[in-house]
Amino acid sequence: MIKNIFTLNALDISWVLLMIITSANAFVAETAEPSLAITAIICCSIAYKGRRIMDYFMELNHANETIQFFMRSYFHVFPALIFLSDLFSEELASLTTLS
């Protein structure tokens, strides 16, 4: 049942996908005007790249569940925080201003 999960092809495909996404990010950096939509797309790309590296390079996709949980959470929480800190930047600034 578990046969064929670990294929070298999965590594090759992951590398190609990661390079393509990185190139797309660089293209966005050079051309796109800042907007919430762009931030959302970049956040999704961070989450996807992180997941791909964790699952296929680090081989966490069937490793210890606690490690899986914390590592995957990291790459859900931080992309979400990037987006939220952009969306609520004024509120964040007022919350963190020392009176």
């Binding site: 578990i2 046969k3 064929n4 999960i5 670990f6 294929t7 070298l8 590594l11 992951s14 590398w15 990661l18 390079m19 990185t22 190139s23 990010n25 660089a26 966005v28 950096a29 050079e30 800042p34 762009i38 931030t39 970049i42 790309s45 961070i46 790249k49 992180g50 590296i53 964790m54 296929y56 390079f57 680090m58 081989e59 966490l60 069937h62 490793a63 210890n64 569940e65 490690i67 914390f70 990291y74 790459f75 931080f78 925080l81 990037i82 800190s85 952009d86 930047s89 004024e90 964040l92 600034a93 963190t96 201003t97």
Partner: protein, 206 residues
């Protein structure tokens, strides 16, 4: 080429299993994961400081990425992703009882690590030529703090790859026993993962 389930040793510890070695197991050892989570917590603090600083100085954080060398940041990302790929290949090779091939993949990963360091030094020189220094503004202070800290991680993680090469050469990592190599690989991937967040924060998002 396919590695079947019957090829696996229990987490590289010498005990043969019919399951993939990482199935429900801690990849490498507990110690490396304490280190990995400690490092990720450190980077998490940097990211939180970045969010707060960006909220307070939106203009500086909007202009900052435009002045940085995106090519250097992109090449660094390519170098790290490729090195992670090579390290994963090295682990696959030792599982197939091919230490020579594993050593070759690890040397390629070390070269990528060195390439990263060379690109970063070139980028810092380029920055100084553009008048971008640590105290230019809050964004660049954040940029230098995060990237230099990450650079240190790449440096000592490259050293751990050299150690793994040495262990393979003297026959201490084998198909049956390679927990150390798995642990080093996990640490290297963690360094790559940190950059996956740092790159868009500093070079892409405005």
């Amino acid at each position: 080429m396919t590695i079947t389930a019957t090829d696996f040793n229990l987490n590289g510890s010498g005990s043969v299993t019919k399951e993939p070695e990482t199935l429900n197991k801690i990849p490498g050892n507990r110690a490396i994961w304490v280190g990995i989570f400690a490092e990720l917590t450190e980077f998490a603090l940097f990211f939180l400081v970045y969010f707060i600083a960006k909220a307070h100085y939106p203009e500086q954080f909007n202009q900052g990425p435009q002045q940085l060398n995106t090519l250097a940041g992109t090449l660094n990302t390519f170098a790290l992703i490729t090195s992670s790929y090579f390290v994963a290949k090295a682990l696959a090779s030792i599982r197939m009882d091919d230490p020579e091939q594993s050593i070759k993949w690890l040397w390629r990963a070390v070269i990528c690590g060195c390439l990263y360091l060379v690109i970063k030094v070139w980028e810092y020189h380029w920055n100084v030529d553009q008048g971008i220094e640590t105290n230019t503004n809050k964004f660049y202070t954040m940029y230098y703090y995060m990237t230099f800290n990450h650079l240190l991680h790449v440096g000592w993680a490259s050293g751990s790859l050299l150690w793994a090469i040495h262990q393979l050469k003297v026959g201490r990592y084998t198909k049956q026993n390679h927990i150390g190599l798995t642990a080093i690989a996990c640490y290297w991937h963690m360094v790559d993962l940190a950059w996956v967040i740092i790159f868009p924060l500093l070079y892409v998002l405005r």
